[in-house]
């Protein structure tokens, strides 16, 4: 049986989630219907909303259910931009970073290409850490032109964690709404929506062992967003469409189970990650931990291996029974040098040798030991095969 070490791509559905999900799927009724069936379905939906809200420090009404992280990021960034820009057309700058996930970066660039927005990237250092001094200086001068800021809580590739509450406060000082893509972070580190002072925050179920196709955007009660999907006016009019009671029930179950032992699990995974990092560095001393000394998710281990191509490494490890990735999963299934690493100043050749191992609730010490046994041969062959640019 192959060992799954790609939890950041998607985490296997938890048995308790499957139980809650399959049971909820059998319930009949549209949550918007007034009859008994509808009320039952509505009860499922609202119980889930309440339980997720309390888990993330939000008010029940601040949870807008969506189809997942990508939709949540689109709704936040486009919705905030359109709303702000319609009130004051001078506000057209979107502050973000080159290391963001495509689900947040592409909506920003789409707004630049089609809607008169201007994307301003906040510099990051070689570890992927945002330059907050630069941001402060920039805001002093240009705050009146900024529509919003969008920064991920933790990076899905390198795992580096940003100080979102601080950034959010820096923007709030000028009345600028801040959005954060917390898809990679949620469940792994404590997140408190209210304390964060964010306008919006995106989360997804399947990264926590919930089903694919379910997510949420948290929207502060006083925050106004233009909607992307018009129709029956569900979800505060921000996301029309029949609500997915079963899906969000499963989402709530995944959140409850993930957060029940989150601090212990974080420590457990930190210990496994350290074993893995030490082991890899012993085998390949020239390997570079992508986030360096910066604080990061205990579940993400992301390295670059000089002279190796991710194509080769991933293939060889897969053949040896270990499922890892080069970075973000991409539509065509081809590993291009990661835009995240390029934004962190790596060359194309350096970025080509990336490998991401992400741990989760199924990961064990035996997985790490097995991986470290298989890794030397894989690395040696991959190095022999060299870089695609040679």
């Amino acid at each position: 049986m192959p060992v799954y070490l790609d939890h950041a791509a998607t985490s296997p559905m938890r048995p308790a989630v499957w139980e809650a999900y399959s049971q909820a799927l059998l319930s009949v009724g549209n949550p918007s219907s007034v009859h008994k069936f509808g009320q039952e379905s509505r009860n499922l939906l609202e119980s889930a909303r309440e339980s997720i809200a309390s888990a993330i420090g939000a008010n029940r009404s601040e949870i807008i259910f969506t189809s997942g992280g990508t939709e949540s990021n689109n709704l936040a960034i486009k919705g905030l931009f359109w709303n702000r820009n319609s009130i004051d057309s001078n506000r057209n700058i979107i502050l973000t970073a080159g290391t963001e996930h495509h689900a947040a970066l592409d909506p920003s660039y789409w707004l630049e290409d089609n809607q008169g927005a201007k994307v301003q990237l906040v510099p990051v250092d070689e570890r992927g850490v945002l330059d907050l001094d630069w941001l402060e200086t920039y805001l002093k001068e240009f705050n009146e032109s900024v529509a919003l800021g969008s920064f991920m809580w933790a990076n899905n590739e390198t795992g580096v964690i940003s100080d979102i509450p601080t950034i959010s406060r820096m923007l709030a000082k000028y009345g600028i709404p801040a959005h954060s893509d917390a898809v990679a972070a949620f469940g792994h580190i404590p997140i408190d929506f209210e304390a964060s002072q964010l306008a919006t925050l995106a989360v997804s179920a399947h990264k926590l062992g919930g089903p694919v196709g379910v997510g949420a955007l948290l929207v502060g009660r006083s925050v106004k967003l233009a909607s992307l999907v018009h129709g029956g006016g569900q979800e505060r009019g921000m996301r029309s469409g029949t609500m997915n009671s079963a899906g969000v029930t499963a989402f709530a179950a995944a959140v409850a189970e993930t957060l029940a032992n989150q601090p212990e699990e974080e420590l457990r995974l930190a210990r496994l990650s350290q074993l893995l990092i030490d082991g890899i560095l012993e085998i390949v001393p020239e390997a570079q931990l992508s986030r360096g000394s910066a604080p990061g998710l205990s579940s993400n281990v992301h390295f670059t291996f000089p002279g190796c191509s991710a194509d080769s490494l991933i293939f060889l490890l897969d053949a040896a029974g270990f499922s890892v990735s080069a970075g973000s999963a991409c539509t065509a299934g081809v590993n291009r040098p990661s835009h995240v690493l390029l934004a962190m100043g790596r060359s194309e050749d350096e970025a080509t040798g990336a490998m991401r191992v992400t741990l989760g609730y199924t990961s064990t010490e035996a997985d790490i030991e097995g991986f470290l046994k298989a890794f030397p041969a894989a690395h040696e062959l991959a190095k022999r095969a060299g870089l695609p640019s040679k």
Binding site: S309, D311, S312, I314, F315, L316, D318, A319, C330, T331, A332, G333, V334, N335, R336, E348, L381, A382, R384, A385, G386, P388, S389
Partner: protein, 373 residues
């Protein structure tokens, strides 16, 4: 054997992979990503580059129950195939990018990577046959399905490359049978159309694409005596043998149409003349390779067959190496030969070797242009 099946997303490579699996090999399917723009989605098979082709290859691998990966060769492909294609046009030659792709990507970059990663061979869907002579040497021969024979585009392979190549479709009688076999195997690409275009030219219009890359510059159209007959917008817009698109005001002295005979990129000049002058007697090149065992003697003139285009016919000729140059003399004047093309030498059905054509010698001297006027 551990076999890497190069899967383009077309029917041929899918059936080739299936046959390799059936022969008991441990097969892994690999699709080559050759374009940096994975968003390009085109209908029909262009052999590479598209998401649709990659998905088709993935589906085929899934039906065969083999692991499947997409490997990125876009950088190598751009440098060694696309950029060279442009450079050849810029130098006034007519290149064959598919041969370069076989030479530099499929049987070089991919094969090298496969061997480094522990594979024994690369398997493709080319129609060609690998045989072994009495001494155990590998020989590349034409396919049994002569109509689909692709030995020409494999003419660039060396002995070392042949050792690690596998062409399971070689002995197939026809493409129809391959399609029927694909259908029977449950491969959804069974009825996918064949690809003929150059995969990296999206609209299929080479001249437009080249003009876009190289820009336009006005130059002269001259006859072989050097008389200026007209002007053009860039010599790279022409290929030897071309008749259409020559905006020459005056008719030829003999009243017959004129054809492009030569392109002189250094002076941005296009030389035209009568069709008869297109016929060549001799061609030569320094960039030659032997496919398998090299011929024993290359100093003496030896009889062979030569083919100058993928879908052309092989014609009788003789060859020898003269001052480091492979020289080929055809027995009868031959039309449709331009520098940049590849001449593949055959001994019967066996591919002997190839050269990129650097120079040609016309069968008709320049002062005969007006004969018949």
């Amino acid at each position: 054997m551990k076999v890497l099946a190069a899967m383009s997303g077309g029917v041929d490579s899918a059936v080739a992979a299936a046959r390799a699996v059936e022969a008991g090999h441990e097969v892994v399917g690999v699709h080559l990503a050759l374009s940096r723009m994975p968003g390009t989605l085109r209908t029909g098979s262009r052999g590479c580059c598209t998401i649709e082709d990659s998905m088709d290859a993935q589906r085929a691998a899934s039906v065969l129950g083999i692991p499947y990966y997409v490997w990125d060769f876009s950088e190598r492909f751009k440098e060694e195939v696309v950029d060279e294609f442009i450079a050849e046009y810029e130098a006034g030659r007519t290149p064959n990018p598919c041969m370069r792709c076989n030479e530099r990507i499929k049987f070089a970059a991919l094969l090298e990577k496969a061997l480094a990663l522990g594979f024994d061979a690369v398997c493709t869907g080319h129609y060609a046959t690998l045989l072994t002579d009495e001494a155990g040497n590998l020989e590349l021969h034409r396919s049994a399905a002569m109509a689909k024979d692709q030995s020409y585009v494999l003419g660039v392979l060396t002995e070392e490359q042949l050792k690690h190549s596998m062409f399971p479709l070689g002995a197939s009688a026809s493409k129809d049978l391959i399609r029927a076999e694909a259908e029977a195997r449950g491969l959804s690409v069974a009825n996918k159309p064949d690809s003929y275009d150059i995969c990296f030219i999206p609209e299929g219009d080479t001249q437009d694409w080249i003009a876009d890359k190289l820009g336009n510059a006005t130059g002269d159209i001259v006859d072989r005596a050097g008389n200026v007959l007209g002007s053009h917008e860039g010599s790279h817009g022409f290929t030897v043998g071309q008749r259409k698109g020559l905006s020459i005001g005056r008719p030829a002295a003999d009243g017959k149409p004129r054809y492009v005979l030569e392109i002189r990129p250094k002076t941005n000049t296009v030389v035209v003349g009568p069709q008869a002058a297109l016929a060549i007697a001799e061609m030569s090149g320094t960039r030659f390779t032997w496919c398998g065992q090299a011929p024993k003697s290359t100093d003496e003139w030896s009889d062979i067959l030569v083919q100058v285009r993928a879908h052309g016919e092989a014609v009788p000729a003789e060859f020898a190496i003269v001052d480091g140059e492979l020289v080929i003399r055809v027995k009868e004047p031959l039309l449709g030969v331009a520098p940049g093309q590849t001449a593949v030498l055959y001994l019967g059905t066996r591919v002997l070797g190839q050269t990129t054509i650097d120079k040609t010698v016309s069968a008709v001297p320049a002062d005969e242009d007006l004969v018949g006027a």
